[in-house]
């Protein structure tokens, strides 16, 4: 078992999959000679050459479509979009082609592409570099969405995404590439559906994904220490499809729910999880479910405003206490 950083785990998955299958390629802006903005492909240009580690022009819709077209013929591209804010330009090809081609061809064509991209608010990057898109992609039939919260998940989900015959969008986070964690040395694959229990608990379920899983875990520690509340933390690493059964299983145990997301609330992960709870376990509930989300604003540049826009561990703790009719 080695301790790897998140970016190292992604890089290892690239390397192994490219060694395994000569039709696996990687493409994106500055991923080749420059080694990748977040080093996810560092050293691979030297190893696999320019035909397979492709520095693209700044043409997000164009090169994403190129990857999709190549995948029709059995190529398995891993497409890196430098920031998810730029993936808006590629939504046409992702949504109109990759997600629909299997269906509209009656099962004849498929688009086994992986599109990876970091979203989320880092440090004062401004409105056009701080947004998230997972809520957009998770509503698209035919497109899988996963979002790793640890180096182990980053490796195992990318490995499965490359081999899976469906298009997969992998939502990463600008702030998480240097996160460290244990990754088993032997090769492994993680399921692209489901959720994991990141912390067992009995009193309330905190639903997180990607960076917000970490906020939930920190809040759970504090809640246990300061308030004697044992929170269960469910890591929703798969956003499409969402693990309705896993959500219900935990609620049957805890009877309370809080969804924590870095994105703004409307039409998001939180609203979808709430709908699942309402439809599947309404009568299990001891309290109304709540959400902790970003303010519904473009992310500001000013540091204090930026901090105020994004939820934090304190917000999670307060929301849990409110669920119990307590305050801190």
């Amino acid at each position: 078992m080695a301790e790897l950083m998140y970016w190292e785990a992604i890089r290892r998955a690239h390397d192994e999959e490219m060694a395994h299958d000569p039709l696996v390629i990687a493409m994106g802006e500055d991923i080749g000679i420059a080694g990748g903005t977040y080093k996810a492909t560092q050293g691979l240009f030297e190893k696999y050459g320019s035909e397979r580690i492709i520095d693209t022009p700044i043409s997000e819709n164009g090169y994403t479509g190129l990857g999709i077209g190549a995948s029709f013929l059995g190529v398995r591209p891993i497409i890196e979009i430098m920031s998810v804010n730029f993936a808006w330009l590629a939504t046409d090809q992702i949504v109109n082609t990759a997600a629909k081609v299997r269906y509209m061809s009656g099962g004849q064509l498929e688009a086994p592409v992986v599109i990876r991209s970091p979203g989320g608010t880092a440090h004062q990057l401004g409105a056009q570099h701080s947004a998230r898109m997972e809520k957009v992609f998770m509503g698209i039939a035919g497109l899988r969405v996963v979002t790793p919260s640890s180096p182990k998940q980053a490796y195992g989900l990318l490995k499965s995404a490359v081999r899976c015959n469906d298009p997969v969008f992998i939502n990463e986070h600008e702030l998480m590439y240097n996160l460290k964690g244990d990754v088993p040395d032997e090769e492994f694959f993680l399921p692209l559906e489901g959720s994991t229990v990141a912390r067992e608990g009995t009193d309330i379920t905190l639903f997180g994904y990607n960076i917000s899983t970490h906020w939930c875990l920190q809040a759970a520690t504090e809640l246990s220490r300061e308030h004697g509340i044992e929170a269960e933390v469910i890591d929703l690493y798969a956003l499409n499809p969402l693990d309705a059964e896993g959500i219900a299983r935990s609620l049957r145990k805890t009877h309370r729910a809080l969804i924590v997301e870095e994105a703004e609330a409307p039409v998001g992960v939180g609203s979808e999880v709430m709908a699942i709870i309402n439809e599947n376990c309404f009568f299990e509930l001891d309290a109304a479910p709540r959400r902790v989300s970003a303010a519904n604003v473009p992310i500001p540049y000013n540091h204090s405003l930026e901090k105020a826009a994004i939820p934090n561990v304190k917000d999670v703790v307060s929301a849990v206490l409110a669920t119990f009719g307590l305050s801190n």
């Binding site: 022009p57 013929l73 899976c164």
Partner: protein
């Protein structure tokens, strides 16, 4: 603007016709006439409400797909296009019955009734689809060319799209990538002078589309898209260029559609005089006259060819489409995702 020697308009009337054998010339007449009758029968079926949705017909443009694909390897080369796609699919080898059944939304259709007129597919014959987003196929085509190059095989990718599609960003992004990576792709622009109701000079700064390829240093040619000999001759040059590993090529074919853009279009924006001029240069008439002059066919044999085609479309194609079953509603959610993909459960 300076145009390199490779960028030229081909207005040469003396095309060498010896490239096609008599047998092939006759087959092409039969195929183009079949295409015309097929499309006109679709028109009727649409009026009868047997076909739903949008329907874009190819009547008037037959020499484009036939000339280009005759010079290529239909069924082997990877072909992609927009929504005006029936004839490209058939020329690639798709059974016309499966095309009509698709338009009739039947399970036996070439997309199992899930696609419709704008989304014909036939993976077996390397017809990689009809797509409805104008300009959408450009990058897909370049991607197929990338895959061909990675696999070191000798097929090429061929992308047929309209003139108005060249105003999408995907056109420029794709031409650029095709050139930077020297990919085996032939771009065929079917320039019928209109994007729905907007005539080309009202939307497009440079109306000669072949000139736009110069911006990417891609060799290009403009030719008469109504004259099968000229299309074929130009396409031979283009296909040879691409297949020999010289990178992309851009071929512009000047053509005209007879019907409205789709069935919901009255054509009111077009000048009757203009329509008449183009109908005087009908690709099938031109070809028929040429073959009559060459003694390959007579007016009578042409007539009986026409009758046979009309009959076989009725007895074979329409009958098949009519009698085929619809998809089962219980299979509504089939084909959204891969079935039983082991990696969805972590490789187990």
């Amino acid at each position: 603007m300076t145009v390199t020697p490779n960028h030229r308009a081909n207005n040469d009337d003396t095309v060498d016709q010896s490239q096609l054998s008599d047998e092939v010339k006759l087959r092409l007449l039969q195929e183009m006439l079949y295409a015309r009758r097929f499309e006109e029968r679709c028109y009727e079926a649409y009026v009868e409400r047997k076909i739903g949705g949008f329907l874009h017909l190819y009547s008037g443009e037959e020499a484009c797909a036939h000339g280009v694909l005759e010079a290529a390897r239909p069924g082997e080369d990877y072909v992609i296009t927009g929504y005006r796609d029936h004839i490209h699919a058939i020329k690639c080898g798709t059974d016309p019955r499966a095309v009509m059944a698709e338009l009739f939304a039947k399970e036996t259709g070439c997309s199992k009734g899930r696609g419709g007129s704008m989304h014909l597919f036939d993976a077996e014959h390397h017809f990689m689809g009809g797509y409805a987003l104008v300009g959408g196929p450009f990058p897909l085509a370049v991607g197929m060319a990338k895959a061909i190059k990675l696999r070191r095989s000798d097929e090429i990718a061929i992308c047929f799209l309209g003139d108005a599609a060249n105003n999408q960003g995907t056109f420029h992004e794709s031409m650029n990538m095709a050139k930077v990576w020297n990919l085996p792709i032939l771009f065929v622009c079917e320039n019928n002078l209109y994007g729905i109701g907007t005539r080309i000079e009202r939307s497009t700064a440079v109306t000669d589309q072949y000139k736009r390829a110069a911006a990417y240093d891609i060799p290009a040619q403009q030719t008469d898209g109504q004259d099968l000999d000229k299309v074929y001759a130009a396409a031979r040059v283009a296909v040879d260029h691409v297949r020999s590993g010289n990178g992309p090529y851009f071929l512009e074919l000047m053509t005209y559609r007879y019907r409205g853009h789709s069935m919901s279009d009255s054509n009111a924006y077009r000048d009757a005089e203009e329509e008449k001029v183009w109908q005087g240069r009908d690709p099938i008439d031109l070809w028929k006259e040429r073959l009559i002059n060459q003694g390959l066919i007579t007016a009578e044999t042409f007539k009986s060819m026409d009758h046979e085609i009309i009959e076989s479309i009725e007895d074979d194609v329409i009958a098949f489409a009519e009698s085929s079953p619809e998809p089962a509603v219980s299979e509504l959610e089939k084909y959204v995702l891969a079935e039983n993909d082991p990696y969805v459960t972590g490789g187990k």
